[in-house]
């Protein structure tokens, strides 16, 4: 096990002009679970593949456990990896698949069997050890891929969207299992995903990427509650954060069509105002700090109900308890707690912390 240090990494693909990774620096501590999150084309997989050595950086440096690996051949890096497409070997039985990395490291037959049995037990693959991958379901194949990755005593575990080929139900259950297994073995892990709920639920820290750069690096709750810019706020959360243009004056935010209390210490000026849907509540009509709104759409989600409401010319998502009695066309009053309000620069979209 080891930490990973990435310094000023730049990757330009041959024949391309754009930087797939643009001056990325990152430190992943020993035993940390780091998630790289971003939309497709943001450079997260490119970054992972450079750590793996499957792509070579244009400039910059990568060190694993203090050892420079920037241009080291893949097989000398002592890594393990789980691929999106599972990448199990179709011509080898499950036992040989799991033991592949061990056999390549020249381990004795008895020791390989012992470790394979341990991993198979952990991932509930024991009954399938003598089957070929084609005789397994997608979920079982991904278990084989994970087992193959955790049996080797690698410095770093890399995962490239390992859950995205599984169906929704399986993804949810395997996610929790994966977190437990990785916690148990305590490997330094870099996990790539475009699924924000996966990122938040798995990561010790989340690096949100955009256009080849890391735009925010923080723990999951912080990334969710204090997005560094409107991109992160809009990308993370379902529904995404509400953004409206507003003017702060005298501790009040006027968004045109209503106003509410600004967070403490906010300077006067024009901002993009961000509020999470679940932070907004339906308030007491007598309260002067509520905002009048008209409900357009009511979507019961089971655990909660999602409202689309209009305030002035803004459309706003509000998440209310499932038992709330409200219908499309109703006039309501929205209460926005000042502590949940985030202010962003009108032009750059960067957070303006009061």
């Amino acid at each position: 096990m080891a930490d990973i240090t990435i310094q000023n990494l730049v990757k330009v693909y041959p024949g391309g002009n754009e930087r797939a990774n643009d001056d990325v620096s990152l430190h992943v501590a020993d035993g940390e679970f780091m998630v790289l999150l971003g939309p497709s084309g943001c450079g997260k997989t490119t970054l992972l593949r450079q750590i793996a050595g499957l792509e070579l950086p244009t400039s910059g440096a990568i060190a694993i456990g203090g050892r420079d690996v920037t241009y080291m051949p893949v097989h000398q890096r002592n890594l393990s990896m789980v691929f999106q497409s599972y990448a199990v070997f179709p011509h080898r039985r499950v036992r040989a698949n799991i033991g592949f990395g061990l056999a390549m490291r020249g381990m004795s037959k008895a020791e390989i069997d012992k470790k394979v049995d341990w991993a198979a037990e952990l991932l509930q693959l024991t009954p399938y050890l003598d089957r070929f991958p084609a005789q397994l379901s997608g979920g079982q194949r991904q278990r084989v891929a994970v087992a193959r990755a955790i049996v080797v005593d690698a410095d770093v575990l890399l995962m490239d969207e390992p859950l995205s080929n599984l169906d929704a139900l399986l993804r949810l259950s395997f996610r929790a299992e994966l977190k437990q297994i990785v916690n148990q073995i305590g490997m330094t892990t870099v996990y790539v995903t475009h699924d924000q709920s996966e990122a938040l639920s798995l990561g010790d820290r989340v690096a949100v990427m955009k256009n080849g750069r890391i735009t925010q690096l923080d723990n999951p709750l912080r990334v969710y509650s204090h997005p560094a810019n409107t991109f992160v706020g809009g990308f993370i959360g379902s529904p995404p954060m509400n953004f409206v243009d507003g003017v702060v004056h005298d501790g009040q935010i006027d968004i045109g069509g209503g106003s509410f209390r600004a967070p403490e210490g906010a300077e006067d000026g024009r901002y993009t105002v961000g509020v999470r849907a679940e932070a907004i509540t339906l308030g007491d009509p007598a309260d002067p700090h509520t905002v009048p709104a008209k409900v357009l759409v009511v979507e019961p989600l089971g655990s909660a109900t999602l409202l689309t409401a209009t305030v002035g010319e803004h459309s706003i998502k509000v998440q209310v308890p499932a038992d709330t009695q409200v219908a499309a066309g109703d006039q309501v009053k929205l209460s926005v707690p000042p502590s949940a309000v985030r202010l962003f620069d009108l032009d750059s979209g960067e957070a303006r912390t009061p």
């Binding site: 097989h75 691929f83 592949f100 070929f132 890399l158």
Partner: protein, 293 residues
């Protein structure tokens, strides 16, 4: 939905649907037509082979009868025996096997890596290279063979199986390269990368993961190469004089032979390719209970 169906507990209470079975019958009719076409095409291939076979196993007198019986009435191995024992046939068969297998090995050794390169790497001049590959097939074999004969005469390769192997390899390389490149393209690149992550060198990953997965396809291209070489007659005739391959030998002797002898020669030509295809065929089918992936 603006209007809701008049139902109780969501169950429709209308009359049973009248099923129009005409599309089904049309579908079945089309299927029958396809079956018929398959049978006709198979017969087109099989009937001549069958007729040659029964003729080769008939007595000489039986062959002169008219009309010919459709089953071996005058069964006899005499004609075949005479053919196989006649001068040069056994040696020519051995030459053909040597040339066929030699071509298969050489073409695979040279062609498969080229196919791999086309499948996996982006390199300058890839498209012109692929086009250029087909140029050897654009030239008539005669045009290729006569200068080759001169070169081979000068270098001592003339009238040797190795000379024919070189010609046949050159002729089959385009197909070998194009077939194997599509085979390597179908081997998932992730599996190869996984092998390297878990400690294989690039060559190790190729040998342990890519090659086993590509084997069925490579076998298919090998069959093709072998049969092409087995059947190639023009170049083999020009490049050899006494060490003839079977087709070259048959071509030079059968013209002056009796009819029975020709049928025996025809059968002797067909059988090895059929046996070879039958053996290699299993590699074309699923080797591990599945196709790749």
């Amino acid at each position: 939905m603006t209007s809701r169906p008049d139902t109780e507990h969501g169950t429709a209470t209308t009359a049973p649907i009248e099923v129009d079975k005409r599309p089904l019958r049309r579908h079945q009719f089309n299927r029958a037509l396809i079956q018929l076409a398959c049978i006709l095409i198979s017969l087109f291939m099989v009937v001549p082979i069958y007729l040659i076979t029964i003729s080769a196993f008939s007595t000489r007198q039986g062959l002169n009868e008219f009309p010919q019986p459709l089953w071996p009435k005058n069964f006899s191995t005499e004609t075949m025996a005479t053919f196989l024992n006649s001068t040069g046939i056994l040696a020519a068969t051995l030459n053909s096997l040597t040339v066929g297998i030699g071509t298969l090995v050489l073409a695979s050794l040279v062609g498969a890596p080229a196919g791999y390169a086309i499948a996996r790497f982006a390199f300058r001049g890839k498209d012109p290279y692929q086009l250029f590959l087909l140029f050897t097939r654009a030239l008539p074999i005669v045009v290729l063979s006569i200068p080759l004969a001169q070169v081979f005469l000068a270098t001592g390769l003339y009238d040797q199986p190795i000379g024919v192997i070189l010609l046949h390899t050159a002729l089959s390389l385009p197909t070998t390269i194009l077939i194997t490149s599509s085979v390597f393209l179908s081997v998932p690149i992730d599996a190869e990368e996984a092998a390297r992550i878990f400690g294989c060198t690039p060559v190790g990953a190729f040998l342990r993961v890519v090659l086993p997965l590509a084997l069925p396809g490579i076998a298919a291209s090998a069959i093709f190469t072998f049969v092409t070489s087995w059947n190639e007659v023009l170049g083999a005739t020009i490049l050899t004089f006494s060490n003839r391959t079977l087709p070259a030998q048959v071509l030079s002797t059968l013209g002056d032979s009796p009819v029975a002898f020709r049928f025996a020669g025809g059968l002797a030509m067909i059988i090895p390719s059929i046996i070879f295809i039958a053996i290699m065929r299993k590699y074309l089918l699923n080797m591990w209970g599945t196709t790749i992936r």
